[in-house]
Structures are given as structure tokens and as C-alpha cells.
């Protein structure tokens, strides 16, 4: 029995497009333990959402294809299950919250109907049981007047309240794993703080394993135990959150940390930047995908792909250079 509730092993996802084959995810491996939050950070197009859609069997095939990889949950490979078998797990044992709570709730159904559907399907509740459970769930996520509001429609809720409804829905069958894809990106900061705290509270209570997808290193520092940094479809660095922030080993992680403005530090004349543009996924650079933007590039980087090697304090990183001693230089491409 593995220590992980959910373990992803060497996952590859590709899409066949007019532009050629896009390798959205290539060789991603990670695991999440009970009661632990794993953050997946990366910028748009880095493959962080696709990884998790693949786990849930939500990649449309075609144009998508999963040529390789496993996602082990409860001793079985999720990627090999039939749609029917997956349906029994999705929303029950593994649940998902999306960025936009408006588009992920059905505007024609009351909150009650949407919440009851899940427990009637997965837990075999009667209407009465399901309604009672729905109200209890709304209360647990801090919606005032839950017994009345449960009969309202999504548009009658504010953005923060809708995200609470989504969380209530995701947790109503007490899943083992919760996948949260940018759950607070569309929310204001004060509401974001409330939602992150709520997720942590519920995790402590039920021991839920959480995969938190985000682009915000601040959210990672607040809410995650383990972090995977993704670039161009690969995990380029993975570590425990404190050691990652104390000593990033990959130049991309380092660049991300430096380019993030902080309100608690005086403004410098210029922000540090990662030069260049995110890669075109249909035409990835050779060798290390980050080399055209990398200030630590070595001669071998455009030719060889750096393998994931262990960090001294646990975790892994994929870089030939040693950012702790090397001096940064101008990267190969300027912007434009």
C-alpha cells in the first residue's frame, strides 16, 4: 500500500491540433497524502490544469490522447477505468472545484437540487435525507440562513458565496481527494482569505488530500505543504513548501519568486523579470524547455534534457546549473 492517497506516475497528455501535436503534459509524477495539500504552480499553458483533468478522465479524446502514464487511486489506475466506473469515483471519492463558480453551477437549478443530486446518486440518500444533508453542508461552509438559501438559484449568490456552494458540493460525499483548480483566482482578496481558511479547516476535520492548482505563490505559501512547479508540461521542481521558498533550485522557480512584487517590501526601481515569452507548446525549444529564457543557461542546455534529480533537503529539481553558486547572465532572447 502506497503512502499516497492518489499517485500520478509518468503522465503524458497530448492534443492533436492543426498546429501539430501539442504535448501539454510530458512525464509528470507526484503524489498526495491524506490531510496534505500539494500545490501545483505554473503559468498559463504550463499543463497544470490538463494534468488534473486527465486524472479525472475529463480530457476529450480526440483531440486529446494519453499515450502513457498512470493515476493510482485505491489500488486501481483511474486512466484505465470505463466512464461508468469513473462516474462512481468522480464527485464521490475525488471531487473538483473550478475557478469560475458561475459557469460550474447550473443556473436553471436551485442550489438544493444541485447538492441533493450528488448524495442521492453516490450515497443513495432519499430526498429528505439529501435535503437535510445539503443544508448541513451549506452551514458547514458558512452560508448564513442555509435552510432558506438552499432553495435559491446560483445568481442570487455573490461570487464568494458561490465558491462556498461549490466547496459544499465538492465535499458533500466526504471525498478522499479534492482537486481545486484556481479556486480563489476570481475572488477578491478578503474573500480569498476566507475561502482558503475554510478549505484548511475542512481538511483538518476530514483529513482530505487536496491538490491546489494556482499561479499565485502567495496562495502556495499560505495553503500548501508540498509544491510542484510546472513549466511547459513538466514538473521542473518539487519540494516541501518551506525548503522551496528558502532555497529554490530551478532558475524558473527562482525567477517566479523574484518577479512577484510584494506589498510588504519597499518598491525597487524595477521589478525583476523573466525575460522572453512563455513557450509555444506546439514548437517547444530543444533540450531544456526553459533554456531560451534562462539566465543560468549552460552550453549543454539547448541539447540535453535535464533529468529530475534529488534536492539535498528532499524533493526534486531538473536543472544542470547550480543556481546557488552560479552567476546569472543575460538570457539568449530578449523580449519582442
Amino acid at each position: 500500500m502506497s503512502e499516497y492517497v492518489l499517485e500520478v506516475d509518468d503522465l503524458h497528455v497530448e492534443f492533436h491540433t492543426d498546429d501539430g501535436i501539442v504535448r501539454a503534459v510530458s512525464g509528470v509524477s507526484f503524489g498526495v497524502r491524506r490531510g496534505e495539500t500539494v500545490g501545483i504552480v505554473g503559468e498559463s499553458g504550463s499543463g497544470k490544469s490538463v494534468t488534473n483533468l486527465a486524472i479525472m478522465g475529463l480530457i476529450p479524446q480526440p483531440p486529446g490522447r494519453i499515450p502513457q502514464g498512470r493515476a493510482i487511486y485505491g489500488g486501481q489506475d483511474l486512466l484505465k477505468l470505463s466512464t461508468n466506473q469513473l462516474r462512481r469515483i468522480r464527485g464521490h471519492k475525488i471531487a473538483m472545484i473550478f475557478q469560475d463558480p458561475m459557469t460550474s453551477l447550473n443556473p436553471f437549478l436551485t442550489i438544493a437540487e444541485q447538492l441533493m443530486e450528488i448524495t442521492r446518486l453516490h450515497l443513495g440518500h432519499t430526498r429528505k435525507q439529501a435535503l437535510k444533508h445539503a443544508i448541513a453542508m451549506l452551514e458547514s461552509v458558512g452560508i448564513p440562513g442555509a435552510a432558506q438559501r438552499v432553495f435559491e438559484y446560483p445568481h442570487q449568490f455573490s461570487g464568494g458565496m458561490r465558491q462556498r456552494v461549490m466547496i459544499a458540493m465538492a465535499l458533500s460525499c466526504q471525498p478522499d481527494v479534492l482537486i481545486a483548480d484556481e479556486p480563489t483566482t476570481a475572488l477578491d482578496v478578503t474573500i480569498q482569505a476566507q475561502i482558503l481558511e475554510l478549505m484548511q479547516e475542512l481538511q483538518k476535520k476530514h483529513g482530505t488530500a487536496i491538490i491546489l492548482i494556482t499561479h499565485d505563490l502567495g496562495v502556495v505559501a499560505t495553503a500548501c505543504h508540498q509544491v510542484c512547479v510546472m513549466y511547459a508540461g513538466k514538473i521542473v521542481e518539487q519540494a516541501e513548501v518551506h525548503s522551496l521558498f528558502a532555497q529554490p533550485r530551478h532558475p524558473y522557480t527562482l525567477g517566479l519568486m523574484h518577479s512577484m512584487p510584494r506589498w510588504d517590501q519597499p518598491a525597487d526601481e524595477r521589478l525583476n523579470v523573466i525575460e522572453g515569452q512563455p513557450p509555444d507548446m506546439a514548437r517547444l525549444p530543444t533540450g531544456c524547455e526553459f533554456h531560451p529564457r534562462c539566465p543560468y543557461m549552460l552550453e549543454r542546455c539547448p541539447r540535453e534534457v535535464p533529468p529530475l534529480t534529488p534536492r539535498p533537503d528532499g524533493g526534486r529539481f531538473a536543472c544542470f546549473a547550480d543556481v546557488t553558486t552560479a552567476k546569472p547572465h543575460e538570457p539568449e532572447v530578449a523580449h519582442g
Binding site: V189, L196, L271, P278, H335
Partner: protein, 338 residues
């Protein structure tokens, strides 16, 4: 001795020339009617409810606040894109808020705008060169040959390769599109650019590039920005002064460094404490000021302080009359601010 003599002289001279932008008690209200013709309920959404500030040449004023606080409507009110309900807007000392569209024309050249969404704000059927040239066509600047040269110069200035002049917006990434939007705004040499969340839609690494570009251009060209954002970290790097908005009003207005160092309004404090820091050690130690509830809707009139219902230090007196924005360089609208 000579220094003493000239100092007050230059000062009085500076006092005479009006600020670039002067906004006084700006209000933008939207009437609404909900429900049936006779049975429904009518009212007014007070999107902007008494905003005042000035902005000097070559400086940046940032307006921050959560969604619905009226920051974007303030921007549109300044540009006369929505008609203000009341209040005054002066550009170079000339009152512009009551002008008709033809009367506004000469001022439009002075005031440009950059938008949040770099995908929606560029015409997908126009090549980049034409997008950047269009404002010059409209205002009849330069002859055809010089316009072409000017487009090249602008592209180079914002960090776009002038070779791409005939490409279309979809061929560029988000950050590059935002550069196109900036070049277009600069094409008529405005003295003021209103930037409405210009980096919110961009990835972190690209955000930093665009922030740096905007600052560089300001130093080079002396253009002033009204910069609208919800991200307090970005604002610290852009702003000379910051106005924090809540329910259509500025609740605190201060020089940037001071606002971040010594915030006075309880809302500003709560807002700052809610921004997660990219530092797990600091995150553990930090004290969060928790705000209960959500931003109230601006469709009612509040007799007292609009923040009273969520304020951690509220007193009964706060609910009776609204606090006014007061103070010298660091203004705050709170009865209990320390």
C-alpha cells in the same frame, strides 16, 4: 541668501499652474428599475459617491479596491465616457465633465486608456501597424510617411519587433498584446493614460515586464497614470500615491510608501493583511485581520460610515454620520483612525 529668495518664488509659480488632473466630489449614479412596470422597485446604484483627488504631471495615482468599489467607473467618469451625475473634472485647469463629444475631442488626445483584457481590446481584423496608427489618423497627426515611421518607433519603444508590423493580434501572446495597447495609447502623445487593470490578466513573469515598461515610459515621456488595480503588491511598485476605495468612496489617500508602512483606515489594514505573501515563514507569523461578511451593495444610501457593518473597531457613533476624507498628505475617512 539667494537660495532663500528663490525658493518661495518658484513655489508660488508652481502653485499657480493647475494640476494635470483635478477631480472634485465626483459622483456617478446609475438609476435602476427592477421587477414589473408598476410593482417593481426603483433606486439608484451609487457606483461613485464623492471622489476627489489631484494628479500632477508625470506622476501615478493608483486606485485600489475590491470588485464593485467603483474604481473603474471613476476612471470612466474622468474620461467622460460615462456622464458624471455631479462633481467636477479639470484637465490642465479646464473643466471637461460637462463637455459634449465634439467639445471633448481636443481633450481626448490628451487622455488615453489601456484596458484589462488584451484580447478583447484589440480589433482582431486589423494588423498591428494599423491598430497603432489609427489614433494618429483620427487626430490627423503627421503625413503618411511619418506615421509609418512613428508606428515603427512606438513598436520599438514598447519592446515589440517592428518587423511584426503586419501581423494580427492573435499572433501575439498576452503580454505582447498589452504592449500593442500601450503603443496605441502613446501614439497621440497624451499627458494622461488611464490604465484599467492593465496587468491583471497576465502571468506573473509577464506582469513584471509590463509594469517595468510602464514605469520606463513614464520616466522617458513624463506621462501621468491613473492606475486601477486590485492587486496591492503591483500597486506598491507603480504608485506615487494610492487611493483605497470602498463603496464608491476613497477611504484613504496617501503617498504609496506611507500607506504601506502606516495604513490608517481599518479597511486598508484588513485589505493588506488579506494579501498572501510568497513566504511561508512570514505567513505563519502574520496576523490576519478577518473581515466578516462581504462588500455591501451600492444600491442603498448609508447614513453613517459605509464600512461600519464590517469594521472591527466600529462604534455606535460611526453609524450616524459619514466620516469625511481629511488630513494633509495622508488623508483618511475614519472617526477612529489613529
Amino acid at each position: 541668501m539667494a537660495e532663500v529668495m528663490t525658493a518661495p518664488l518658484t513655489k508660488s509659480k508652481a502653485a499657480k499652474s493647475p494640476p494635470l488632473l483635478d477631480v472634485r466630489d465626483l459622483k456617478v449614479h446609475f438609476p435602476f428599475h427592477r421587477g414589473g412596470l408598476f410593482t417593481g422597485k426603483s433606486g439608484v446604484v451609487r457606483a461613485v459617491d464623492g471622489v476627489s483627488f489631484t494628479l500632477e504631471q508625470g506622476k501615478t495615482l493608483c486606485l485600489v479596491g475590491e470588485s464593485g468599489c467603483g474604481k473603474s467607473t471613476t476612471a470612466r467618469g474622468i474620461l467622460n465616457l460615462v456622464k458624471p451625475t455631479s462633481g467636477e473634472v479639470y484637465l490642465h485647469g479646464q473643466r471637461i465633465d460637462r463637455l459634449s463629444e465634439p467639445e471633448m475631442r481636443p481633450y481626448r488626445r490628451e487622455m488615453q486608456m489601456i484596458f484589462q483584457d488584451p484580447f478583447a481590446s484589440l480589433n482582431p481584423r486589423m494588423p498591428v501597424g494599423k491598430i497603432i496608427r489609427e489614433p494618429m489618423d483620427i487626430f490627423g497627426l503627421y503625413d503618411a510617411r511619418d506615421r509609418r515611421l512613428e508606428v515603427m518607433r512606438l513598436m520599438d519603444m514598447v519592446g515589440l519587433n517592428p518587423r511584426f508590423v503586419n501581423r494580427y493580434p492573435h499572433e501575439f501572446s498576452g503580454g505582447q498584446r498589452q504592449r500593442i495597447g500601450i503603443a496605441r495609447a502613446l501614439a497621440v502623445q497624451p499627458s494622461l493614460i488611464v490604465c484599467d487593470e492593465p496587468v491583471s490578466a497576465l502571468d506573473v513573469s509577464i506582469q513584471a515586464q509590463v509594469v517595468n515598461l510602464l514605469k520606463e515610459l513614464q520616466q522617458k515621456l513624463g506621462v501621468a497614470y491613473v492606475f486601477i488595480a486590485h492587486d496591492l503588491s503591483v500597486v506598491r511598485h507603480m504608485a506615487d500615491r494610492v487611493g483605497v476605495m470602498y463603496l464608491g468612496r476613497i477611504v484613504e489617500l496617501a503617498p504609496a510608501e506611507e500607506l504601506y508602512h502606516a495604513p490608517k483606515h481599518p479597511y486598508t489594514k484588513a485589505l493588506l493583511s488579506a494579501v498572501p505573501l510568497p513566504d511561508p515563514n512570514a505567513e505563519v507569523k502574520r496576523e490576519r485581520i478577518k473581515l466578516e461578511g462581504e462588500v455591501p451593495t451600492p444600491d442603498k444610501e448609508y447614513p453613517g460610515c459605509p464600512f461600519a457593518d464590517r469594521c472591527p473597531i466600529v462604534e455606535e457613533s460611526c453609524r450616524q454620520s459619514p466620516p469625511r476624507l481629511e488630513g494633509g498628505a495622508h488623508q483618511v475617512a475614519c472617526f477612529k483612525a489613529d
